[in-house]
């Protein structure tokens, strides 16, 4: 046993897979200890906030201000004029402003604005432009004027007695706030999702739940598969025929279909995480049954098994002590694969809307489901689904690597 373990941990593939898997597992355990927030708390009032640190506007306005002699104009120009606007400006300038295309450099915002200010005129003759396009350019011009004017912001408070606004402070464009001074801030490393939940916290929680789904599904499938395989292989005869008939049936009838039928029938309200996991397990045992059965058939006439039979040992004891130990490696390998396919099955079910009921839990599949339902890809909210896909792939990758590593240890012919 010790020797086998040492061998297993000498396989680089197994070790890499194991390290990735352990890292994911540890993250799901340690992260909640550090970040105590409820993973399903709807923090953001609105959907898909970008990743980053959010600081309270009021706090920053009221806090200590520092004047820094930094050119802030090009920075704010850059952030306020989109790439699309720049393209449109270029188009207008070349078509109607009489500027040569070579003179325009989209990277140089200030230069572009300079050209724009010098050449744009709302009343210019603009043949071929629709009225709405003309208005768009007028708006853009006004916008740019506003940014260029760079007037100070005036803060005012309402006087509770008179109801009048009283000026309380002015803010110039070179005033800065040290983010450490702002008491109310929150960092969303992966932004928020469609419900305004912190994606990172939710992702960690979902990973934990999905791992649990995989584990339960794997355990159920392994128990059923092992049990049927042992009986079928050891008893043989009619029992074997019957079990193999059923196994072959369920190998060909796609488990995906059975999953859909059962999950739909159970109903939205009854579908908890554990139930979904058990259903997945109950539809994915055929692989284990097949490999266990063929192993048992090759084992059952070995000398040591016959010796046990002659010694009058019970069937239970023979199976447990003389056959099972030889199967351990196969069963473990099948178990590892079933964890990974269980996680995938949950994700696919959830994508169809047949996953665990949503309000109380987060799973990787449910996160994907919501992200696609709210068209996260189309509005550029990569943070809502990309980390989820990567997490699913990493889990499957690590488990498959472990499986391949084990395979090479136990089947020396596969070693390269």
């Amino acid at each position: 046993m010790k020797n086998t373990l040492r061998q297993v941990f000498h396989s680089p593939k197994f070790v890499i897979g194991f390290v990735i898997f352990a890292a994911l597992l540890l993250t799901t355990i340690i992260y909640p200890l550090v970040v105590a927030a409820d993973p399903l708390e709807m923090v953001g009032n609105g959907n898909f906030f970008k990743p980053g640190t959010y600081v309270s506007v009021k706090d920053s306005v009221e806090g200590t201000h520092y004047t820094l002699n930094i050119d802030v104009k090009s920075g704010s120009l850059d952030s306020k004029i989109s790439a699309e606007d720049k393209e449109s400006m270029k188009e207008w300038l070349t078509k109607f402003g009489g500027v040569a295309e070579a003179d325009i450099n989209l990277e140089d915002v200030e230069g572009l604005i300079g050209l724009w200010e010098a050449n744009y005129s709302e009343s210019a003759d603009q043949p071929g432009l629709t009225a709405s396009r003309k208005k768009y350019f007028a708006r853009l011009n006004k916008n740019i004027d506003g940014i260029l004017a760079d007037s100070d912001l005036i803060l005012a408070r309402e006087n509770p007695d008179t109801g009048e606004l009283e000026e309380s402070a002015t803010i110039g464009s070179n005033e800065f706030v040290n983010t450490k001074d702002v008491a109310n801030r929150r960092t969303f490393i992966l932004g928020t999702d469609n419900f305004g939940r912190d994606v990172l916290t939710e992702l960690v929680d979902a990973t934990k739940t999905s791992l649990r789904v995989g584990l339960i599904a794997g355990v159920v499938a392994t128990i059923v598969g092992l049990f049927l395989g042992l009986i079928s292989g050891y008893v043989g005869g009619v029992v074997d025929d019957l079990i193999m008939f059923i196994t072959n049936l369920f190998t060909v009838i796609p488990s995906f279909v059975l999953l859909i039928l059962i999950s739909y029938s159970v109903g939205q309200n009854a579908r908890g995480v554990n139930l979904v996991a058990i259903i997945i397990g109950l539809t994915s045992w055929t692989w284990t049954t097949r490999s266990v059965r063929s192993q048992v058939i090759s084992l059952r006439n070995r000398d040591h098994v016959n010796l046990s039979k002659l010694s009058g040992h019970s069937m239970m004891r023979i199976v447990l002590t003389d056959i099972l130990p030889y199967l351990a490696s196969y069963v473990v390998m099948a178990f590892i694969l079933q964890i990974s396919s269980g996680i995938l099955a949950e994700a696919q079910l959830s994508m169809l809307g047949l996953g665990p009921s949503t309000s109380t839990t987060a799973t990787l599949g449910l996160m994907m489901n919501w992200a696609t339902l709210y068209a996260a890809p189309l509005n550029g909210s990569w943070w809502a689904y990309f980390p989820v896909v990567i997490t699913i792939a990493l889990i499957a990758f690590s488990l498959n690597l472990m499986n391949t590593g084990l395979d090479q240890v136990f089947n020396p012919q596969l070693r390269d």
């Binding site: 059975l258 059962i262 739909y264 029938s265 109903g267 995938l344 994907m368």
Partner: protein
């Protein structure tokens, strides 16, 4: 080969095919039974609650009455289970699945008919292309070894672990939204009406690319890994060493090796077809591709039980047919099966 041998050979084939087809017919029967029984065994039986549940979203009273009557007649709700099954199976075999709850007054058969073509045209070529490319790459990686193998194997190992919908959403983001090379959703431009014009065909082809390649990429990864390890296994076999010893040309040995390594890959394809098709169906959702996958999701959202039932049945039939086809081909290719037929 003598004449008598040839006749026996043909007989063996007939027997092999006959057995396979019979077995698949039995499987189909059980699949149909499961399709009928599973929902009715569950606590939340969608069929029993149908009168209340299915029509709750509809406001038009004549429509409700129509759906309910249609349903009661089609499913024989008040009859005993076995009679219900008889009615249901008879209708199902004729392709009559009743009226959709979600898309009333369209019939389920009509909805299925309009989406199955898209799914077949997408999945069949994608899985075949992915399988062929994957096997080629796997075999080449096993034969060449060295840097090619070192680089390509981990890449495919990683890629093959992406769920199909994950690959789909990544391709969608990169090529559809960021690079804008391909359209992001639907089977053809939303402003077009299906016809045989050049414009429509071009639209269909450009919409086809992303779903197609996401399935192909996933398939390549898995197949390449399997083929690589099978080829390594075969390259170390005794007959290879013996052939080398006899001085048989390397190219000929490689031919033997890959033919032998290919056989388990074909069985593997048969075993994993169901899973692959399931994954590909979910990937359709990402692109709102108008196939069975998207239809199924719409049916689930709309609590459209007849449509779900028909979808699962049609998916089962597709998987069974594909499996049968693979097994029949296997019978032709594998010399051992041929030998067994001649006993």
């Amino acid at each position: 080969m003598s004449k008598g041998n040839g006749v026996r050979h043909l007989k063996g084939f007939k027997k092999y095919y006959g057995q396979k087809i019979l077995w698949y017919l039995i499987t189909l029967f059980f699949a149909i039974v499961l399709n009928f029984v599973l929902p009715r065994l569950m606590p939340g039986d969608p069929v029993a609650g149908i009168a209340a549940g299915a029509v709750s979203g509809m406001t038009d009273t004549t429509a409700i009455q129509k759906v309910y009557n249609d349903y009661a007649e089609k499913f024989g709700v008040n009859e005993p289970m076995i009679v219900q099954f008889g009615i249901w199976a008879k209708n199902a075999l004729r392709g009559d699945f009743g009226v959709s709850f979600g898309q009333y007054p369209r019939t389920v058969a009509d909805i299925i008919a309009s989406s199955i073509g898209w799914t077949l045209a997408l999945q069949l070529p994608a899985i075949i292309v992915g399988w062929i490319l994957g096997n080629l790459l796997g075999a080449v990686a096993a034969y060449i070894k060295g840097a090619f193998d070192k680089v390509i194997l981990p890449v495919f190992l990683f890629v093959s672990n992406f769920p199909a919908f994950g690959m789909a959403i990544i391709l969608l983001t990169v090529f559809g939204i960021n690079l804008k090379w391909f359209p992001t959703s639907g089977g053809y431009g939303f402003d077009l009406i299906p016809n045989m014009s050049w414009e429509f065909v071009r639209s269909v082809i450009s919409h086809y690319q992303l779903p197609f390649w996401s399935i192909v990429l996933i398939t390549i990864g898995g197949q390449a890994i399997g083929m690589r390890s099978m080829s390594i296994y075969e390259l170390n076999a005794d007959y290879v060493k013996y052939s080398r010893f006899l001085g048989i040309k390397d190219s000929k040995i490689v031919g033997y090796v890959f033919r032998n390594a290919m056989l388990p890959q074909i069985t593997g394809l048969a075993m994993s077809l169901g899973t692959m098709m399931g994954g590909a169906l979910v990937a359709e959702i990402i692109f709102s591709y108008p196939g069975i996958g998207s239809t199924l999701m719409a049916a689930v959202r709309g609590q459209d039980y007849p449509l779900i039932s028909a979808c699962t049945l049609i998916i089962t039939v597709m998987v069974l047919l594909a499996n049968l086809f693979v097994e029949l081909i296997y019978g032709v290719i594998d010399p051992r099966v041929k030998a067994a037929q001649q006993d």
